[in-house]
Subunit: 453 residues, 2 copies
C-alpha cells in the first residue's frame, strides 16, 4: 500500500487520481486543490461565457463526492506551499503531509501582467471557473470590450462576446494573431472574422498596450502609439505561465520554458516526485526539442501515463505534435506539427529543409448542400519527403484533414506515401481526391521540380 | 506525339483524359463512352433521387464541350466491342480505330440478375444517370418500394426513398446488411434505421427473392419462404460486375474477381493497354491479396496514376485499404482496413492474429450542444500490435476517426503508438482522449492480459 499525494485539481490531477484508483484498489489517494472546485473542463469556459453551455456545473467532470465514493480523498481550498523531498512531505495549508509518491499537477495560470492598471475592476483573465463566471456576469450589462492578446483564448473569448452583441477591440502585440499558425493562414482567419463581423470587431496587430486606465474601475487602454480605446471591460489573454515555483524551490529541475522537466514516464529529477499536465514541459516528436504548450488533451494523456507509472506499471508518454483546433463560430482553425515559419526556424538547428504548398478546396462534393471551402497548407521536408506539418482553416471540415496529417507525421509518412492514401469517400463526407491529398500532390510536384532544376 | 484512346466516361476515364492533357499538350486524346453523358459523379445519384441535389446537371463534373476546349475529343454513345492488340486497334461503333496507348475505364455495371421478372417495368437498378432519373421520376407517384440488397447502395437508396415518404421493404439474402462491416456493427446500423424509421421501413435479413411478379409491370416479389410482398416499384441493388468482357476476349488477363488485372503502374499484361477504375482488380495493402471493390475515390486515384504513366511518367498506385463511408441521414457509417470477421478469415492464409475492442463514446465534449455518440470498433494484430482495421458508426463524427485509423494502418502503426497520438482537441471537435485512442487503450489492455495469461 502506497500513499499517493496529488497536487492540482483541474485536468491532469483528477485524471491521475481516477486512473490510480482504477489501477490499484489498495493505495491511499489524496488530491489537493487550491480551488473551490475540482475536475472541470477549463477548455469549456469560453462556451460557458458564450451561453452555449448553460450552467457552470455542466463543465464539471467528477464532483468531490463522486471521487470520495471511489475512495479518492479530495480537499478543496488546500494550497501547497512547499515540497520537502528529503522528508517525502509537502506543506499544505500549513500542515505537513507525508507521501510515498507525489504527483504535481499544479497547472498553469494566466501570465502575470506587468502592465499599469492590470489590477483594476473589470479587468479579467480567463483561466479558472471564477474567471468564467465573472466575465459572463459582466457581459450582461456591457456593450463593449477590449481583448488584449490574439492567441486562441483571445479568439474563443471573441466568439463568446460577439455572440452576445459586445463590440470588441482585439489588440495583438505581435504582427499576427494566432502565432501557432503561419502568417498567411492567420491572415485568412483574420480576414474571415473581419468579413463576418467587421461591424462588431476590430483586430489590430502590432499594437501594444501601454497602460490600462481607470480610477477604480476599468475605463480604457492606451496603446503604444498613444491612442485611447475606451470600453466597458477588458480581458487579458496573453498566454499562460506554468505553476512551477514550489517545484523549483524544492530542487525539481525546470526546463528553459520554466515548466517542470519530466522524462517519458512523467518522472521529475527527484525520486518519487512526478508531474503531469500544464505545469510540465513537453517534448516535440518532430524537432526532439523541449517546448511548452498548455492543452487539456495532453494533460489527460500525461495524467494517464503518469498514473500507470505511479501505480507500478510502465507506460511511456513520448511527446507531442502541437496538434491544435479551435473555431470562430462555424469557421474551423486547426494545425498539427510545424508551421512553415517554425520549420524554417528549426531548420537552422535540425536537419530539415522545409517546403510548403497550399490548396483551397471544397471539403465535400461540390454539389452537396453541406459543402464548404477549406484552405489547407502542408509542410514537408524537401529531402526526405516526410510530412512536417499541416494547417487547415475554413467553414469546411478542416479538422478531419489535420488529424490524418497528425497520424502521418507521427509515423514519418512521406508525401509520396500520402498522395494515394485510401481515405474514405462519399459525397457528403469528402471529395474523390481529398484536399489533403491534393495538397500532397501539389507539394510533390514542387519538390520534383526543385530536384530537376 | 502519341494517340491515347480511352474507353469509358464516368470517373476514371475523364480523370485519365484530363490528367493526360495536363501532362502533355501534344498527345492526341480520344475518350469514347457508350453513355450519352460524360464525366459525372455516380456517387451523387442517390442524393439526386432524394432531391438534395436538385438537377442531374449538378452531378456533371466536365461537359463534352469543356473537354473539347482543352483538346480532348469526347465521343458519346460510342460502344467499344472489340480490342485487337496485334493491330493496336479497337472496334468502336463498327469502326476500326488505331491507338498508341489504350486505357480501359469500362467501369462496372449493376450485377446481371438471374431472377424471374427482373425485366419488368418499374424494376430498377442504380448505376447510370438514366437509372437515377427513372427512379426519381417513378418515386413521385409511388408510395411503396422493395429494395433487393442491403449493401451500401441499398442503404443510400433507402435514405432517398424514406426522405420522400416511400414505405420500403429491404430484403437482404445474407445474414446481415452491409457485409463490409462486422455483424455486431451492422446490427447497430440496422437498429438505428428501425428505431428512427420503423414505421416506414422493414429490413429482413436471410430473405432471398424467389421471383419478381407482375404481368408487364412490377407488382411484387415472392420470397424464398413463399411470402408475397407487394409494392409500387422495386430496386435491385445487389452489387456490381466489372465490365471486363471485351478485355478478356482480347487476351487481357483478369483476376479471380473477374476484373482486369493491373500492376501498380496500371498496366495490363498486354503492352500499351492500361486500365483504371471499376473495371480493375484492386490490391489490398494489408492482406497483399487481390480483391474487388467499386469506389469513385479509388477510380480517381488510379486514373491519375495511370495518366501519368501513359504520358511517360512513373507513378505507382500501391493499393487500397477498403476505406469506406456512407450515411443514413445524420448517421455515419464508416470503415477502413479489415473487419474482425474478415481478419479472422484471412488469418487462415496470412500471418495475423486478430483481436478487437469496441467503445461507445461521445464524439465531442459531453457538455457541447453538437455532441453525439459513436460506436468504434478497432481491430489489431495481437502479436505485433499493428492496427488492422476500424469501424465507426453513429450520429457523431465517426468518419474523422476512421481516416486517422486509415493513416495508421497504412504506416503500420501499432496500438502502443496510437494510444497517445496527439490528436487535436477542443470541446466542439472532440474529447480530451479521443474515442479512437480510448479504443486503442482498451485493445492494449486486452492484448496485455492475453499475453500474461
Amino acid at each position: 500500500m502506497k500513499k499517493i499525494v496529488i497536487i492540482g485539481g483541474c485536468a491532469a490531477g483528477p485524471k491521475v487520481a481516477a486512473k490510480c484508483r482504477r489501477m490499484n484498489k489498495e493505495n491511499e489517494i489524496h488530491l489537493y486543490t487550491n480551488e473551490n472546485i475540482v475536475s472541470y473542463s477549463a477548455c469549456g469556459l469560453p462556451y460557458y461565457i458564450e451561453g452555449i453551455v448553460p450552467k457552470i456545473e455542466n463543465l464539471i467532470i467528477r464532483t468531490p463526492e463522486e471521487f470520495r465514493e471511489t475512495g479518492v480523498n479530495v480537499y478543496l481550498d488546500h494550497t501547497c506551499t512547499k515540497i520537502i523531498p528529503d522528508e517525502k512531505a509537502v506543506i499544505i495549508n500549513n500542515e505537513k503531509i507525508k507521501y510515498d509518491e507525489l504527483v504535481l499537477c499544479t497547472g498553469a495560470r494566466a501570465k502575470d501582467i506587468k502592465i499599469e492598471g492590470g489590477h483594476l475592476k473589470n479587468v479579467f483573465k480567463l483561466r479558472t471557473i471564477q474567471d468564467g463566471i465573472a466575465i459572463r456576469e459582466k457581459m450582461k450589462t456591457a456593450k463593449s470590450a477590449v481583448i488584449i492578446g490574439g492567441g486562441y483564448i483571445g479568439i474563443e473569448i471573441l466568439e463568446a462576446l460577439i455572440a452576445n452583441n459586445i463590440k470588441v477591440e482585439m489588440l495583438e502585440a505581435g504582427n499576427q494573431i494566432l502565432s501557432n499558425f503561419d502568417k498567411d493562414i492567420a491572415k485568412i482567419i483574420q480576414n474571415h472574422i473581419h468579413k463576418k463581423d467587421g461591424d462588431k470587431v476590430v483586430i489590430r496587430e502590432n499594437t501594444k498596450v501601454e497602460k490600462i486606465v481607470g480610477k477604480d474601475e476599468f475605463v480604457g487602454i492606451i496603446t503604444d502609439s498613444g491612442e485611447v480605446i475606451e470600453a466597458d471591460f477588458c480581458i487579458i489573454a496573453t498566454g499562460v505561465t506554468p505553476n512551477s515555483e514550489i517545484a523549483h524551490e524544492a530542487g525539481i529541475e525546470l526546463g528553459r520554458s520554466g515548466a517542470i522537466r519530466v522524462n517519458n514516464r512523467m518522472q521529475t529529477n527527484i525520486e518519487h516526485i512526478w508531474a503531469a499536465g500544464d505545469c510540465c514541459e513537453k517534448h516535440c516528436l518532430i524537432t526532439k526539442v523541449p517546448m511548452y504548450i498548455s492543452l487539456g488533451s495532453i494533460a489527460n494523456k500525461e495524467g494517464r501515463a503518469c498514473a500507470i507509472n505511479v501505480s507500478g506499471g510502465d507506460e511511456k508518454f513520448e511527446g507531442i505534435l502541437c496538434s491544435f483546433v479551435t473555431r470562430y463560430f462555424d469557421f474551423t482553425i486547426s494545425t498539427t506539427g510545424l508551421t512553415e515559419e517554425h520549420a524554417l526556424e528549426y531548420s537552422k538547428f535540425i536537419d530539415i529543409e522545409p517546403i510548403a504548398a497550399t490548396v483551397k478546396k471544397h471539403d465535400r462534393a461540390g454539389y452537396m448542400p453541406n459543402t464548404n471551402e477549406i484552405t489547407l497548407k502542408l509542410v514537408a521536408d524537401k529531402r526526405t519527403g516526410e510530412v512536417l506539418g499541416a494547417q487547415a482553416v475554413g467553414k469546411g471540415d478542416a479538422d478531419k484533414r489535420i488529424n490524418i496529417a497528425t497520424s502521418a507525421i507521427k509515423s514519418k509518412m512521406t508525401i509520396d506515401e500520402l498522395i494515394n492514401l485510401d481515405l474514405t469517400y462519399a459525397p457528403s463526407f469528402g471529395t474523390p481526391i481529398d484536399p489533403l491529398l491534393e495538397a500532397a500532390y501539389k507539394l510533390k510536384k514542387i519538390i520534383d521540380n526543385k530536384r530537376h532544376n
